[in-house]
Amino acid sequence: MSEYAEKIRGIAKKLLDDGTVDMVIGFRKGTMPLINEPCFVKDAAKVDALVWDSSCGVNLANYLPKRKEKIGVVAKGCDSRNIVTHIVENQITREQLYIIGVPCTGMVDRRKIRLAVGKEILSVSEADGKITVTGDGYEEVLDKQEMLQDNCAICIHRNPVISDEVIADPVEEQTDVDRYADVKAVEAMDPEARWNHFEQLLDGCIRCYACRNACPLCYCPTCFVDESQPQWVGKSVDKTDTRTFHFLRAYHCAGRCTDCGACERACPVGIPVRQFTKKLEKDCKELFDWEAGMSLDVRPPLDTYRPEDPDEFIK
């Protein structure tokens, strides 16, 4: 992975030196194992701060909307799809961006690793698909594939779909994954079981909105839950209000969600919020053969009408 970092630094330096961009958005080394911090670099002398490893899960597309600068941005597969979505939705222009594409082999789930190890982790290194964690008097080697974020484990677009420069050869895309096993399990439930499933899922939500704020799609100047005239949703942790927040947010992401997992990664209490968006993603795939953020040239299904659009579901 350090070759990746070297490549990113080199490109960043070149872009800043020759004035192609005003800033490069990437990651700097975290203060703890298993998490790196999104950062910007404006000074070519400081590109060495940029790092790359399997703890760069945060979706950097989230840092782009409405920025005025010319920006070099490091982008994994999912970030690149959210960048496409931003461009299509006029949140930033293609001309402002220099996209540094990173073929991705998946980002690890820090909580999964902590759970698997069960002891405090003091340092982490990775090589050849293995993650080595060490702590007080122990060392453990884990299979990276088994420690991936749930969304990364089923990702089928690991290579950036749009870029100005890619830092390495494309990685092999995963083909033998069932992207919707979890959704199908919920679809198979009777209404009561389904209701209980979602009730349990949301139990413990503290309405902090980390899921919303981590999501690149949630850039509305005023989110519907924050609106006070009229006030659509109550602000306490009342179950109905919490549910309303999650269901409506998911609908706002319909046909736009790239399953980047940023929402889930951010939740401080570990709620698998992708359970809501994935059903809509599956519907979009099945009804409109649509995957979000794959092309700058096709309008998303929810803002176009075609006479042949399927309408079985409203009959």
């Binding site: 203060t31 703890m32 902090c208 306490s236 401080p268 209490v269 570990g270």
Partner: protein, 351 residues
């Protein structure tokens, strides 16, 4: 203060005796982590934990609480009158709270119970509370309590401090409330002969704390210069203004007041608020004096590490529990920010 000894085999029966006199709260496992929750009759606190995901502040200061109820029905004689709703102030005890979290309750008290203001609900709940703290023999790498005004064996805020000695606890009974509780539990074996062992364990635990912050120079900084420091944009960049840090924090005390009306019945409630949210400072006019995330991130750190320091002169508004460090989704680390603030000198770049 006196020291008593509690054999672990007597612990459960003692806790059971308490449940008649107190509502008990303690750490319980909820999925992958622990949180404080009410203990059912016969349920024991799970003391095999390092720190809870959410702080126990909600026992005294719930995330959401209804303060008043009213009716808008003009046929009712008392329509449009806020009526305070009755609350439960019966004795409660938190078993196994960490010393830093008890310290945090004292710290928040400065806001809710002071010569100017006394928040009735906080004051009464706190008066009803007895804390049985559990000293940390094995602090984790993100704990920086010893340089945040407390420590793994800090006994200055708790009513009782338990030190785990293997087969038994040594308990420092610090207050009258603590005496009442151990009396009701039937814990009365003298432990004074072993008091020295607590000090030894405290030294050993403190020595394990590797994470430290420097706060000594914060008070001397010129507020406006620190406010205008060049590092805020860099620090704030990654922040998504989610509020995780403040909701998990044992010392964050801000709240919002909301009215909710259904039909003609209304209630006025207060909910935790967070200075990370744009709504926190949004005026009715639409003007927002903290218009962007850099301003909001600066507020959080300036409040904890400068305004509070200057106003109360008793240290920082942080007990070093490390929750925000561990759970911030983008790794904004108060230790790093504190270091930048403490080292800050106007005109010198230090980011």
């Amino acid at each position: 203060m006196r020291v008593i000894k509690i054999d672990k085999k007597d612990w459960e029966s003692g806790v059971e005796k308490l449940s008649g006199d107190y509502s008990l709260y303690g750490p319980v496992k909820q999925g992958a982590f622990h949180n404080f929750a009410p203990l059912e009759k016969g349920q024991m606190p799970d003391l095999d934990y390092v720190n809870t995901r959410l702080s126990p502040k909600s026992v005294v200061y719930p995330q959401c609480e209804t303060m008043f109820e009213y009716t808008l029905d003009e046929n009712q004689p008392d329509h449009h009158v806020n009526k305070e709703i009755p609350k439960d102030y019966s004795p409660r005890a938190i078993l196994g709270i960490r010393p830093c979290d008890v310290k945090a309750i004292d710290l928040v008290n400065i806001n809710f119970d002071n010569p100017q203001y006394q928040d009735p609900w906080w004051v009464q709940r706190r008066a009803a509370l007895t804390t049985v703290a559990l000293a940390c023999n094995n602090p984790c790498s993100t704990c920086f309590c010893t340089t945040a005004g407390t420590g793994p064996f800090d006994d200055s805020s708790a009513d009782v401090l338990l030190a785990d000695m293997g087969d038994y606890y040594l308990a420092k009974v610090m207050t009258e409330k603590g005496e009442a509780l151990v009396g009701k539990a039937g814990f009365d074996q003298d432990g004074s002969a072993e008091a020295g062992a607590i000090d030894d364990a405290a030294k050993a635990a403190e020595a394990k704390i590797t994470s430290k912050i420097e706060t000594g120079k914060l008070g001397d900084k010129v507020t406006t210069e620190l406010y205008d420091a060049d590092f805020w944009e860099d620090i704030a960049f990654a922040c998504i203004n989610c509020g995780t840090c403040t909701y998990l924090c044992p010392t964050c005390w801000c709240f919002d007041i909301q009215d909710e009306v259904q039909g003609s019945d209304g209630c006025r409630m207060r909910n935790w608020d967070t200075c990370m949210s744009a709504l926190f400072t949004l005026h009715g006019t639409g003007h927002n004096p903290r218009p962007n995330k850099t301003a909001r991130v600066r507020q959080r750190f300036m409040h904890k590490l400068k305004y509070y320091v200057d106003k109360y002169e008793n240290g920082i508004a942080c007990v070093g529990c490390g929750r925000c460090v561990q759970q911030c989704p983008v790794n904004i680390d108060i230790r790093r920010v504190c270091d930048l603030m403490n080292r800050f000198e106007p005109g010198k770049e230090c980011a």
